[in-house]
Homo-oligomer: 376 residues x 2
DNA sequence: TTGAAAGCGCTAACAT
DNA sequence: ATGTTAGCGCTTTCAA
């Protein structure tokens, strides 16, 4: 007796195909899976039977026995943020090319949602995970994965105590270069619009400076800001540093406060694209002569930066590449690479447009290291 | 003898937990799954054992037996398009609240990628699927799902011959209302920037008009455009209708052609957010007095519409709601609802800003049906 | 209240 | 070249 009869209901299974073709399940599997030895005409009849039945394989069952799902998970901090959307494109392209599917979960910048997403993906048996973590401080859930030797790659941000590959930009350097550029334009009172800073900004940044490679992006960019000012011998004014949450409204409000200062800044650096949008809006609403009286340097080179007026100068992050690189790291781990965790830093580019102009009679722009300064 | 010993390697399984707690697998499953009868102290000891071992359930194995994955698939046409990103947020929020996870695949507007995505998700045994289809003409892959009684909900676009729930906006009406609004402002030469029109625009639109509820969004919006012109007794000029592909560059080029016409339009309607971006750019570059000499009405109320100058009037689609509604439809089907396929139309809103002004001495704005006309 | 046992659909030895 | 068989980790009758 061969193959189980299997009650014909629900979707057809391999057993049904085997029966239909009059062969054993193993043979059917070989023909369908294109491995092992199958006689040409047997293969053909199996394929025909599969076709007739409208068979499609059950990859869940396959995963049960192989122990692999050919799926990687991506926990995005915010799917609606164009930076992460682009990042996701890089991940899915690379993964798909390698025969992996990507399951996407969204943490909405909330640590508890992130934990839940990580747990779910783990239960779903993803082969590995790329995570854009929401917080630096607590990575116990990620550490657990690493201990279980489930490959994890951190994206955009790192996490304390998690020995996993990470693909980042050098936030300190990116912000430092940005501020140096503004200083080079003659600005001396430079406002900083950042996030993630609970408590008094300066103190938080001072702490952060002690361990600059491991900190939130907002804090690290703040450290870069401070470094540039100090290096240039400029005074650091606490009131020029503002922290906002991840909403446009709060960024707008924070910028308005900045512009209302008695000695208001002549330039502002906003360290992510949401903050940048809010800052732009606030400056427009202020009635100041933009950019003559106030320069703005944003983060992330989004579509709208060239249709606003003035066009927006930005620190451009290689979002697609960050995603693609993270995916490549993960795939390497999945293929068994067993080197110590690597932290990769991708270069940012300063894109000079109209929103940053020289202050105090200086005319010339200024170019500086850290990637390229491009004009578009 | 009870439970299998199971070689202690890899992640701990239910059998390991059972062994550790000194109970059978069935009991351990009951305790962990919180069903059936388990004595309180037994439960506690199982939970403790699970905790000790760091057990986490294998939902793949569970799916094998239950036949359900508690997962729905979403095939997005373009994850980087803010419209679909927002849509996705609506889907995931609703799904998660109901205990479902969402697996996202991207078709990049390419039919073959869509087929592949649908096939993969099917093989992955998603319980149901939401699809933003790339083409109206060929829905055989979707029909196959429906035949297998795997619930499918179409989003944003419908597909010929696929009897599935669909959540759409009334594209004809949205465009008609938009054009009526422009006509009300005194415009008579109104350009249309659309997509999806292979071949001579007017003829394609004429065909489309025969079956307006079933067509691509671009074509349907074109039909609405025509309807408004005809209704107002205005001449339809083929050269005012331009079709562009899904890129900003092609939209810019198409708009430039429009503006170079001897009798150039005094207003332009762009029917999606990418086209809108390109159109905005082209108008800016044209040197025309915008909006005095040329009005622009876009689609999708994105973040940047309020920081460009002039601020952009748009037809706003309820993207989040579209996603949420589609997810609710799917969940209903998953819960066994068995009514005939429903097509739901959500209302758009005309958001009046600065980029649309009256032409030919008329001063007042004009308000019209189809959802609301809002000023923001 | 708990345990034994039978699979879910598939792959992978191991036979033949 | 093809078939038999033993599971993958879990849920779920059915007995006890």
């Amino acid at each position: 007796m061969r193959a189980r009869p299997a009650p014909r209901k629900g979707r057809p299974t391999l057993a049904n195909v085997a029966e239909e073709a009059g062969v054993s399940r193993a043979t059917a599997a070989r023909a369908l899976g294109d491995y092992g030895y199958v006689q040409e005409e047997t293969r053909a009849s199996v394929l025909a039977a599969a076709e007739r039945l409208g068979y499609s394989p059950n990859s869940i069952a396959r995963s049960m026995v192989t122990g692999r799902t050919n799926t990687i998970g991506f926990v995005s901090a915010d799917m609606e943020n164009p930076f992460f959307a682009r990042t996701m494109a890089g991940i899915t392209d690379v993964a798909r090319a390698a025969g992996y599917e990507v399951v996407i979960a969204n943490s909405q910048e909330k640590p508890d949602l992130e934990r839940r997403a990580v747990r779910t993906l783990h239960e779903r048996q993803v082969d590995g995970m790329i995570v854009a973590p929401t917080q630096y401080a607590d990575g116990s859930h990620l550490r657990r994965l690493v201990e279980r030797s489930i490959p994890v790659v951190l994206l955009d941000r790192s996490v304390r105590g998690v020995a996993a590959d990470a693909v980042l930009i050098d936030n300190v350097k990116a912000a430092r270069t940005a501020v140096e550029y503004l200083i080079g334009l003659g600005h001396e009172r430079i406002g900083l619009l950042t996030n993630d800073l609970e408590g008094p900004p300066l103190e938080r940044l001072a702490e952060t400076a002690l361990d600059p490679t491991h900190a939130s992006t907002g804090a690290s960019r703040g450290v870069g800001y401070l470094a540039a000012l100090r290096e240039a011998g400029l005074k650091v004014s606490p009131q020029l540093i503002r922290s906002a949450s991840y909403t446009r409204e709060s960024a707008t409000a924070a910028t308005k406060q900045l512009l209302r200062l008695r000695s208001r800044p002549t330039a502002v650096l906003a360290v992510d694209n949401v903050l940048t949008l809010g800052a732009f809006e606030a400056i427009q609403a202020s009635g100041l002569d933009f950019p003559r009286e106030i320069s703005l340097l944003g983060f992330d080179d989004l579509e709208w930066t060239t249709i606003v007026r003035p066009t927006l100068s930005v620190v451009a992050q290689p979002a697609y590449d960050i995603g693609a690189t993270a995916a490549r790291r993960l795939l390497a781990r999945l293929q068994g690479e067993d080197s110590p965790a690597q932290v990769l830093f991708l270069d940012t580019t300063l894109v000079e447009r109209e929103s940053t102009v020289s202050h105090g009679g200086r005319l010339d722009g200024f170019r500086r290291r850290s990637g390229t300064v491009a004009s578009r």
